[in-house]
Amino acid sequence: MSKAEAKPENQFEPKIIAFLCNWCTYAGADLAGTGRKEYQANVRIIKLPCTGGIDPLFLIKAFERGADGILVSGCHPGDCHYNSGNYHARRRWNVFRPLLEFCGINPDRIQFSWISAAEGGKWVETINGIVDAVRELGPFESYQKLNTIGPETSGGAADASSETG
């Protein structure tokens, strides 16, 4: 997939942050490496013991820091190293995802998957999938715009008062 030389020039390269559980998906990503399975280099991994340990705040912060897409991935249901961590995580995303959607954030910017330690191939597919999907969506400009607290002026950027005075 997407060898660097095959890349069209000026192609938008999405920035993806992946929150992975240590036992399954992180190991799955390692396995992809052991199997020398090439995939796109747009992902930065943050390893946690369990998907159950991912607070939605992490995702918000990742977007604030400029992520165009986020991947949350852990063990398949029933396979959690901590028995039920992924089940709790899944509940969280069951409400958090619609909330973001309701606020106008494209749900495709956050993807959830189960990738086991044995699924190096699925890891590669998932990464290429999310990178391609987010590339299609384009940069998350609407969110990134929030990051500038006004130009060189003051106050909330979107606040009329900021340009007053």
């Binding site: 705040l57 604030e64 909330l99 106008g104 909330g156 979107a158």
Partner: protein, 281 residues
């Protein structure tokens, strides 16, 4: 009914069952009431009851100032009493430490508050004493209960974003929403944690989005939609839409509505093996 309330309050204060009665009193203007805290039997005449009694008085259970007044009796509408069930589940109160004077209610606010439109707790589900005539608690269909959301859910993604950005822009980070909320009872709100500072305290678009989303998320599966946050918002952000959306998702996905049954597991601290995961890849 007012007389009945006053009599009940007087009796409870006199016989020492409670030290204070949280109730409603006359407000600055006729269209308002205000919370009153009656500690002396002779003050019970300050109590009133009318359609402007919108407050959810359970919020005073979390405030140390009003807690200090001693064991309270609370005058609670059906919706407010749902809060008690959640607070009990979340170990914030003990049942024996509060006395509930339930009032039956046909709706408050003028015009009628949104929360009353699909009310199915005209008679409180939990109380020690009930004042007013018992009403039938007829369940309102799911769609009807969340009908308010329809027009927003229908919006295009871009319009949703614009709508909410316009709303959040207004936010001045006064935190009235969380201060009034009976279920925002953390000693230290996450926004007050500054090492690290997950949520920017500034009232700029970034901080406002993070705050409002997080506030709503923290109420997922807990909020009983008393709409107090929305009522008190000085810049008129329709906060309850977010809460309602989450309530809808929790009900849809987990078949759970907080504050109805003390035996139900709290939605966000449990799971089912067959919880929806269609969105997983």
């Amino acid at each position: 009914m007012i007389e009945e309330l006053r009599k009940k309050a007087e009796e409870l204060l006199k016989n020492g069952t409670v030290k204070v009665v949280f109730g409603y009193g006359e407000g600055s203007v006729p269209e308002r009431t205000r919370p009153v805290f009656i500690t002396k039997p002779e003050d019970v005449n300050k109590l009133t009851w009318n359609k402007y009694c919108v407050y959810n008085l359970t919020t005073y259970l979390k405030r140390q100032e009003t807690r200090k007044l001693g064991k309270p009796a609370l005058i609670l509408k059906g919706c407010d009493a749902r809060t008690i069930i959640v607070l009990l589940k979340e170990c914030q109160i003990k049942r024996e430490d509060v006395y509930i004077i339930g009032v039956t209610c046909d709706g408050v606010g003028d015009p009628l508050a949104e929360k009353c439109k699909a009310c199915d707790v005209h008679t409180p589900l939990i109380y020690d004493d009930l004042v007013g005539e018992k009403r039938e608690n007829k369940e309102v269909p799911f769609e009807e209960r969340y009908a308010e959301l329809d027009e927003y859910e229908k919006l295009e993604e871009k319009d949703k974003w614009e709508f909410w950005q316009k709303q959040f822009e207004k936010c001045i980070k006064c935190y009235a929403c969380s201060n009034i909320c009976p279920l925002c009872f953390c000693d230290r709100c996450i926004v007050e944690k500054n090492q690290p500072q997950w949520i920017d305290p500034s009232a700029h678009p970034r901080g406002n989005l993070s705050w409002n989303v997080t506030r709503a998320y923290h109420l997922a599966g807990r909020c009983i939609n008393c709409e107090e946050c929305q009522r008190v918002c000085p810049v008129d952000i329709p906060l309850n839409l977010l809460n309602k959306k989450l309530a809808k998702e929790a009900e849809k996905s987990f078949d759970y509505r907080p504050g109805y049954n003390i035996d139900d597991e709290l939605a966000m601290s449990t799971y089912k093996e067959d919880d929806d995961e269609d969105f997983f890849k």
